[in-house]
């Protein structure tokens, strides 16, 4: 049963994006605790995008009485008009006070005309977040596993959002694909497969196949190097390096449903754009020093680094995974 009207989630398509994050009532209690309101459902993809070590909480809102639909393993769930995806970016152990600090909450809302972006920047008091689509820089220092870290965190502008979140120029979500959702999420009342959970909550039509070809958590060392790396590049790279995407004119195809093919991963493929003659191939088997992908993932120069947007730091763990994969590959096949 819906709660009383004034406490339930509000996504009025006539008026969104709202000026304040609290206006949606996605959360109950102190907003910084990110406790979801009734029928605001937490979720997570099996592998997640690296954004300068920011931590993330993700939530899904589907309007009362409506359901999402399965399309295919590798395409985002077809969410009904009025749905919202909510993603909060925060850091723990932020200096100087060693506190948790929420930086921004990014919301995508599906209107009848398509998806829109709404980005909310949190105040210093961590009591409210305000709409801003202009983008801004936030200097940040924090401790990561006891180590001092710092960066100028980039809150993206609307056009930066669109650069990754688009399919033939139309805004689209990225992560909420069956292939990424097909694992047990630790809900407050017990772990459960996320797709089954959505079906159980009457938020997803029960037409989901049982044999979804799925990504894995790239951090899960019980999985093969190949599955871990393929899952990693899918969530970190495929939003540009796929057909109909920002960088489809470059040869690699890095989406999970395409990247099992060695040539799509750039194995033994010569790059079209050289930085220097060291990088003879996009990936050279067993040789990171001749591999363009390694060079670019190891670079922080904006004109050289990959991904181009969303990071200023090197993702050490991701880079190690790439090196492991390069070393695991001994031939061009």
């Amino acid at each position: 049963m819906p709660e009383s009207a004034d406490k339930s989630v509000s996504v009025n398509l006539e008026n969104v994006p709202y000026q304040k994050l609290s206006d949606y009532r996605f959360f109950i209690g102190a907003m910084k605790n990110q406790v979801p309101n009734t029928q605001v459902i937490p979720y997570a993809p099996a592998s997640s995008l690296f954004t300068d070590y920011a931590k993330k909480k993700r939530f899904l809102w589907i309007p009362w009485g409506q359901k999402a639909s399965y399309v295919s393993d590798d395409q985002i769930l077809d969410l009904p008009v009025g749905s919202a995806l909510i993603k909060t970016f925060y850091y723990d152990h932020v200096e100087p006070a060693n506190v948790t600090k929420i930086i921004e909450t990014r919301v995508m809302i599906r209107k009848a005309t398509g998806w829109i972006f709404a980005n909310y920047i949190w105040n210093e008091e961590q009591t409210e977040a305000y709409l801003s689509l202009n983008g801004t820089n936030v200097p940040l220092s924090w401790k990561q596993n006891g180590q001092d870290m710092s960066t100028t965190y980039r809150i993206p502008s609307e056009t930066e959002c669109l650069t990754c979140h688009k399919l033939n120029n139309a805004p689209v979500p990225i992560g909420i694909k069956p292939q990424n959702m097909n694992w047990n999420y630790p809900y407050s009342n017990g772990a459960m497969n996320q797709l089954e959970k959505l079906i159980a909550l009457n938020k997803l039509n029960d037409n989901v196949p049982s044999n979804i070809v799925s990504t894995v958590d790239y951090r899960d060392e019980s999985q093969s190097i190949d599955m871990r790396f393929r899952s990693y590049v899918d969530i970190n790279c495929a939003h540009c390096h796929s057909e109909e995407r920002h960088c489809s004119y470059r040869p690699v195809r890095l989406a999970f449903n395409e990247n099992a093919l060695a040539v799509n991963m750039g194995l033994c493929v010569e790059p079209e754009e050289l930085i220097n003659s060291s990088q003879a191939y996009i990936i050279k088997p067993s040789d990171k020093n001749r591999s363009m992908m390694y060079y670019r993932m190891n670079s922080t120069l904006p004109s050289e680094r990959m991904p181009l947007l969303g990071r200023t730091l090197v993702h050490r763990e991701g880079l190690q995974l790439l090196e492991d994969w390069i070393n695991w590959k001994t031939t061009c096949e």
């Binding site: 983008g135 502008s157 004119y249 079209e272 754009e273």
Partner: protein, 670 residues
């Protein structure tokens, strides 16, 4: 270590040998096949391949031919087993080696192969290094008849510039007002300038700057936005744009950055509204393009809209050139974007004057969907109209396109048979200069080669061991050099003639950016447009350079300034630079009975001497400041003019005769 098994040589199998491991004790070899078990000798002192990083260890061989040969050294042999090799070939003594040849990946699959001519009795040192791996491999040296080397139109000699260094080594331009191209390297809070010295060589200065909000990750442009005689810089970053302004003496720089998010790509200084002050234009990768209008005091006001407004951008290579010969510069934008987006369709915006532009992309036949990051514009057939080579960065939507300007606002695709259809090298940089001074502009693009213009709208490649970089004349010899990182590839020149033109605007912007420069002679006509910002990321010289081949005279040099002023210099001297101050003939060109009018000293502090001034019937003698203001005025000729009262800086001396002729010379009050 190496082992030598001489017995199997007779069987034609690899010779495994025992050479010692330093240059001084290199193992003598003759033609044959050899096995290197592992690379564990002393490292190479100098890298003869493109990647300048040395390995830590090497294996050394010495080879002294007994006849003149064409020698091939290769590791592309079955016994190499795919080992990633690299080698260098030197002459000279161990303390003073000179590169002769070398190769990294020319053998295919990361193996190495190079062919070079050797001279009977000369000793060559061949060294393999462990840049990639110390693993063993086979190599073979074969001797064949000398193959005549096809001489490229010009050759280049690489020289490391000591004292250069910095995060962004992407600019060559004059920074101290002497018109000699300098080497500029930018870091967050400093700029390292290697000032070119008039006697050759460089003077390296590390100049602290205020910390730049944004750094030139994607491009740099240089020009004098406040007309103080010292060029200012634009840093184009993925997050915004920083202007780094020179102080009144060119000895310090202060940054100015706006709050606007700009995903910069190519940037330019150009006087967009033709008010005599340089504005700035920056390609936006993911939004409509942005530009900054100059208030006349060097303050730049942000604008967005009207100059390429595709909603999600795709703007990579902007270039300002006068495509319709109407005296103002038009805007071409090389564009690129994946997916089905029309952001990849190139744009051409015609300047209708007063800051008004009309999109003529489709009507002009320049609206191509090709994935291009830059286009090289010049008059490739010397018919007086600017043509375009739109370079491909990806083969996805077609390769390079050569577009001939029909002179009626339209362009024709003349790629077929031009040599560009056979060029499969992709690149983000394509720039046009006359590298061999033959009077036809060439194009440097991908594949470490220059496409030399054959003079008939066809191009032929010449391969070089280096990629594109910043272009300028870094030894003032009239042949254009190429800077890559801290290396300058000095053009060794040829016997072609040339002229360089240094422009100083008064009513127009200081650098004369946007001016059309024409020279006439036996060849007919050649034209250039003065540009700040061509290619994709680099900043190249602001001086105008023409080669004139074997011609020995230039009938006339015409400057069509952005202000509308037209200056005509008859018979300028060839093979030297000439400085033209807007609206006046150069004083230095005047000659009466072999007597010249000479202004000295340079620089001057108290008094300016004007020798032989009596040769002119002077009506007025005036000194103008950099901004065009008259600071001293006399109604007669004077052989000495006091200047101690003037603030330090650059000035113009302008003499008007009773007959109404104007002559000028610039000088520095120091």
């Amino acid at each position: 270590m190496k082992r030598k098994i001489t017995t199997i040589l007779l069987l034609g199998l690899p010779l495994v040998n025992f050479a010692q491991n330093t240059c001084a004790t290199a193992q003598p070899i003759t033609a044959g096949t050899y096995t290197v078990a592992t690379i564990n000798g002393s490292g190479v002192p100098m890298v003869c391949t493109q990647d300048g990083i040395s390995g830590t260890a090497g294996e050394w061989y010495t080879y002294t031919p007994t006849d003149d040969y064409s020698v091939t050294v290769t590791t592309a042999l079955p016994g190499t087993g795919g080992t990633d090799t690299r080698f260098h070939v030197y002459t000279g003594t161990c303390g003073a080696l000179t590169c002769v040849a070398g190769d990294d990946d020319g053998g295919g699959n990361l193996m190495s192969m190079a062919t070079f001519n050797v001279t009977n009795g000369t000793t060559y040192l061949i060294a393999f290094d462990n840049r990639w791996t110390a693993n063993g491999f086979d190599f073979q040296l074969t001797e064949g008849p000398v193959v005549p080397v096809i001489t490229p139109p010009v050759t280049f000699t690489a020289q490391n510039i000591t004292g250069d260094g910095g995060m962004y080594q992407i600019a060559v331009a004059d920074m101290n007002g002497d018109f000699l191209d300098d080497i500029v390297s930018v870091s967050y809070s400093s700029v390292r300038i290697n000032y070119q010295l008039s006697g050759g060589g460089f003077n390296a200065q590390e100049i602290p700057t205020s910390t730049a909000d944004y750094t030139p990750d994607w491009s740099m442009a240089i020009g004098d936005i406040d007309k103080n005689g010292f060029n200012d810089m634009l840093y184009g970053s993925g997050n915004g744009v920083t202007f780094m302004k020179a102080n009144a003496t060119g000895t310090g720089y202060t940054e100015a950055s706006g709050p606007q998010f700009v995903f910069s790509q190519r940037s330019n200084f150009v006087d967009i509204n033709n008010d005599g002050h340089l504005d700035a234009f920056v390609c936006h990768d993911i939004s409509p393009n942005v530009y900054y209008l100059n208030d006349g005091l060097g303050n730049l006001q942000f604008h967005q809209g009207g100059l390429g407004d595709y909603p999600d951008g795709g703007n990579y290579g902007s270039l300002w050139t006068d495509i319709d010969n109407d005296g103002d510069v038009d805007l071409f934008i090389a564009k690129c974007r994946g997916g089905g987006s029309n952001a990849k369709i190139d744009e051409l915006h015609r300047n209708d004057g007063n800051g008004n532009f009309t999109d003529i992309s489709v009507a002009s036949n320049m609206a191509d969907p090709q994935q291009s990051w830059s286009a090289a514009w010049n008059d490739y057939d010397n018919d007086g109209w600017m043509d375009a080579l739109v370079g491909a960065s990806s083969p996805d939507d077609g390769m390079h396109r050569l577009k001939r300007n029909n002179g009626d606002g339209t362009f024709s695709d003349v790629t077929a048979g031009s040599g560009w259809d056979a060029n499969t090298s992709l690149n983000i940089e394509h720039v046009s200069y006359d590298f061999d001074n033959d009077g036809f502009t060439d194009v440097m693009g991908g594949g470490n080669k220059i496409m030399f213009n054959n003079g008939n709208m066809t191009f032929s490649p010449a391969n070089y061991g280096f990629s594109e970089g910043s272009i300028g004349d870094l030894n003032n010899d009239g042949f254009l050099d190429i800077r890559t990182g801290t290396t300058v590839h000095f053009n060794n020149g040829n016997n072609n003639n040339w002229i360089k033109i240094h422009l100083q605007g008064i009513a127009s912007n200081y650098n004369g950016i946007g001016a059309r420069v024409e020279i006439y002679g036996d060849w007919g006509k050649q034209i250039r447009d003065v540009r700040s910002g061509d290619g994709f990321g680099y900043m190249n010289t602001l001086n105008v350079h023409f080669g004139i081949g074997q011609a020995t005279e230039i009938d006339s040099l015409i400057i069509k300034w952005p202000s509308g002023q037209i200056d005509n210099v008859p018979n300028p001297t060839i093979n030297e630079p000439i400085t033209i101050v807007e609206g006046s003939g150069p004083l230095s060109l005047l000659s009466f009975d072999d007597k010249k009018i000479v202004v000295h000293p340079v620089p001057a502090t108290d008094e300016l001497n004007i020798d032989n001034i009596e040769l002119l019937d002077v009506k007025t003698l005036r000194i103008y400041s950099q901004t065009g203001e008259v600071v001293s005025s006399f109604d007669k000729g004077m052989s000495k003019v006091a200047i101690s009262q003037l603030p330090k800086g650059r000035y113009f001396l302008v003499i008007e005769t009773l007959a109404g002729e104007k002559y000028s010379e610039s000088f520095i009050r120091f």
